[in-house]
C-alpha cells in the first residue's frame, strides 16, 4: 500500500513541475508580425492600422470562452473606437460555415478576419484559444493574454487605456 502512495506522489510532483512551465506567449515577440487577411468586405492588413491601438484576438466558433469574449470586445470597441482603437478578431475555423453562424449570433461591430490555415496564428505563436495581443500605435505588442478570463477584463481594459498617449 505504501508503495502505491509513494508512486502516486512522485507522479503528482512530476506533473506539477511540468505544469509550472505552462504555455506562455513568447516574450521575445516585440513587433507585431504583419498580416493581410480577408474579411467579409475586402482585406485587412496590420500596416493599414499603424497609428491606432489594435487589439488582435485569435478565436474560433468551437472555443467556448470566445462566446464570452465577443460581447466584452463589442463593449470595449464601442467605448474606445473614437480614440483610434481597432479590434481585429482573427478566425481560425477550418469550416467557414461554423464561423459564419457564430458571427451571425454575436453580430460584432469590429473587424473579423479569416485565417483558416493558421499562418498568422503561427506567426504570433498563439498558445491557447483564444489569445489576444494589444498592439500600440508604433506596431509593438505591449500586452498579451492566453485564454479569456471574465474576471480579468478590467485589467485588460486598463491595458488598452494605457496604450493611448496621454
Amino acid at each position: 500500500m505504501k508503495q502505491w502512495s509513494r508512486s502516486f506522489f512522485i507522479l503528482l510532483v512530476l506533473a506539477l513541475s511540468v505544469a509550472a512551465k505552462s504555455a506562455k506567449i513568447p516574450t521575445d515577440l516585440k513587433t507585431a508580425p504583419p498580416f493581410d487577411l480577408p474579411t467579409r468586405s475586402g482585406n485587412i492588413s496590420l500596416d493599414s492600422l499603424r497609428g491606432k491601438v489594435v487589439l488582435i484576438d485569435f478565436w474560433a466558433s468551437w472555443c467556448a470562452p470566445c462566446r464570452q469574449s465577443f460581447p466584452w470586445m463589442s463593449k470595449v470597441y464601442d467605448r474606445y473606437k473614437s480614440k483610434g482603437f481597432e479590434i481585429v478578431a482573427i478566425n481560425l475555423d477550418k469550416n467557414k460555415d461554423l464561423a459564419d453562424d457564430f458571427i451571425f449570433e454575436f453580430s460584432p461591430p469590429f473587424t473579423v478576419a479569416f485565417d483558416p490555415e493558421g499562418k498568422t496564428a503561427e506567426a504570433y505563436g498563439v498558445p491557447a484559444m483564444p489569445s489576444s495581443y494589444i498592439v500600440n500605435q508604433d506596431g509593438t505588442i505591449i500586452h498579451s493574454h492566453a485564454g479569456f478570463d471574465p474576471k480579468k477584463t478590467d485589467i485588460v481594459e486598463k491595458e488598452i487605456q494605457e496604450a493611448f498617449p496621454r
Binding site: 500500500m1 502505491w4 502516486f8 506533473a15 506539477l16 504555455a23 467556448a64 477550418k94 461554423l98 459564419d100
Partner: protein
C-alpha cells in the same frame, strides 16, 4: 491542412453547438464557460432488462447537473432499481425433481436436469453526487459521494480526483481515490461459510473498499484522443455471497447429496488497465476500449468494446451508434462447480458462475435524435447480450457430466434516455 466542410449550418446546429459547449464543461478540464448565468441539465434514463427465464430489471435514473459560468459544476444522480426473477443458486442438477430449503429459508423446487434457481425480489435506491471545480488555470478537482441501499446491502462512499493539464493541454493527468464503507445484512441472518447454513449472526457485516486511480489522456492528433487508466481496488470484510450454495455430490453417481454455503476470502485486491481511444473520421467517431483485469482471487478478464458513432446527416443531428462488446473471464482460484463427498473441504469455495469461466458477447445499437427543432436529445438503445460459461467442466462427476452446467444465457436490454437543459 484541408478540411472537407462536412457539417451544415442551421439554427438547430447553433442550438446544438451551444448545448454541446455548455455540456463540454462536464468533460473538459479547461474552464469552458456557459453563456451567462448557470444552466441546469436533466438526464433521464430508464433501463428495461430481461434475461431469458431469469431476472428482470427495471431501472429509472435521473441526473440533475448545474453548470456555472466560472466552470464549476454540480450533479446529483438518483437511481431506482427494481429487480425480480431467478438466478442460479449454485447447486447442481440432480436428474430428478427436487425440493429443498435454501440457506435463507426459501423453498426451492427444481425440475430434473435444470440448473437449480432461486427466486428473489429486491429494490435498490442509489444516490451519487459530484462537485467539479477549477483550482487554477491547469488544475481541476472533483469531490463526490455515493449512497445506496437495498434490502440486504448498504453502501456509503466518498471519492475525489484531481486533474492537471500539461503540454498546452494535450495531456491530462488524473489522480483519483475513493473510500466506500459497505454493510451486508443478509435476509434471515448471516450463515456460516461452507456449512449447512447455520445462522451465526443477525448483525450487519462490514466491508471496506479503497480505490486508487491514475489516468493519462493524450491528444495524439487533431482527430485522435487516447487514454490509459490504471486502477487498484482493495476490498476487505464480508465478500461472500450469503445466498449461494455449493452441491456435494456422490463420488460415483454425481447425484447431489447435500449442499454447503458459499465461502470466499475476506480480502480481494483488484487491478485494472484500461486503454481507451476516440478517433474522429470525417463526420463519424470510432470508440475503442480494451480493459485487462486481474485480482488476488486469481480471476482474470479481458474486455473489448467497440462503438461506431455514425452521423446520419439530417438537420436534426440524428446518429446511429452500433456497439460490440466481447468479454472473457477465467475462473477464480476457489471456483468449483461442486464438491465431492468424502473429499477434504477446501478453505474457500464458490459455485457462483459469475466467478467461473465466462464469455459475454454483446451486440447493440443506439439511436440518438432530436424531435424537430428541439435541442433536447432522445436516445434509444437496444442490446442483445449472450453469456456462455463452462458447460461441461473437466471435474464434473457422474451424472453431472451429462448436464449442461452453464447453459447460454440470452439477455435483452432496452434503454430509453432523454436529456434536456434550461
Amino acid at each position: 491542412m484541408q478540411l472537407d466542410s462536412s457539417t451544415q449550418s442551421s439554427s438547430i446546429r447553433q442550438k446544438l453547438s451551444r448545448t454541446a459547449l455548455a455540456l463540454a464543461l462536464l468533460e473538459v478540464p479547461a474552464t469552458a464557460h456557459a453563456d451567462s448565468g448557470p444552466t441546469t441539465q436533466f438526464d433521464i434514463t430508464t433501463l428495461f432488462y430481461g434475461e431469458q427465464s431469469r431476472t428482470d430489471i427495471f431501472e429509472p435514473m435521473v441526473r440533475v447537473s448545474r453548470l456555472f459560468p466560472d466552470g464549476q459544476s454540480l450533479y446529483a444522480q438518483f437511481g431506482l432499481d427494481v429487480v425480480t426473477g431467478a438466478s442460479p443458486s449454485g447447486a447442481l442438477p440432480s436428474g430428478e425433481i427436487q425440493t429443498t430449503t435454501g440457506s435463507s429459508g426459501r423453498i426451492l423446487t427444481i425440475p430434473a436436469g435444470a440448473i437449480p434457481m432461486m427466486n428473489f425480489q429486491d429494490q435498490r435506491f442509489g444516490f451519487d453526487g459530484d462537485w467539479h471545480k477549477s483550482l487554477s488555470r491547469f488544475f481541476t478537482s472533483d469531490i463526490g459521494g455515493h449512497f445506496s441501499r437495498e434490502r440486504d446491502y448498504q453502501s456509503l462512499g466518498i471519492n475525489g480526483k484531481m486533474s492537471v493539464d500539461l503540454f498546452r493541454r494535450l495531456t491530462t493527468l488524473t489522480f483519483g481515490g475513493g473510500y466506500n464503507h459497505d454493510s451486508v445484512f443478509p435476509t434471515g441472518g448471516t450463515p456460516a461459510g461452507l456449512s449447512d447454513g447455520t445462522i451465526i449472526s443477525n448483525q450487519g457485516n462490514p466491508k471496506q473498499v479503497k480505490n486508487f486511480m491514475i489516468g493519462i489522456s493524450q491528444v495524439l492528433s487533431r482527430k485522435w484522443l487516447f487514454g490509459f487508466d490504471f486502477s487498484r481496488t482493495f476490498e476487505n470484510g464480508y465478500l461472500t455471497e450469503p445466498y449461494k450454495v455449493i452441491s456435494i455430490v456422490d463420488p460415483v453417481t454425481g447425484i447431489p447429496v447435500s449442499q454447503l454455503t458459499d465461502k470466499r476470502p475476506d480480502a480481494r485486491d483488484r487491478t485494472s488497465l484500461l486503454f481507451s481511444s476516440a478517433y474522429h473520421l470525417s463526420r463519424d467517431v470510432v470508440y475503442l476500449y480494451y480493459r485487462h483485469y486481474w485480482d488476488t482471487w486469481k480471476l482474470q478478464s479481458d474486455t473489448f468494446d467497440f462503438k461506431y458513432r455514425h452521423e446520419l446527416g439530417s438537420e436534426n443531428g440524428t446518429y446511429l451508434e452500433p456497439h460490440i462488446r466481447y468479454y472473457h473471464q477465467t475462473p477464480a482460484e476457489f471456483f468449483t462447480v461442486g464438491l465431492v463427498e468424502g473429499d477434504p473441504l477446501p478453505e474457500f469455495a464458490t459455485a457462483d458462475t459469475r466467478l467461473g469461466l465466462l464469455k459475454t458477447m454483446t451486440l447493440g445499437t443506439t439511436l440518438g435524435f432530436h424531435i424537430f427543432d428541439n435541442p433536447s436529445l432522445w436516445t434509444i438503445r437496444a442490446e442483445y447480450i449472450r453469456q456462455i460459461g463452462d458447460s461441461y467442466p473437466v471435474n464434473a462427476v457422474g451424472i453431472q457430466q451429462t448436464f449442461d452446467l452453464s447453459p447460454p444465457l440470452n439477455t435483452f436490454a432496452v434503454v430509453v434516455g432523454y436529456s434536456f437543459n434550461f
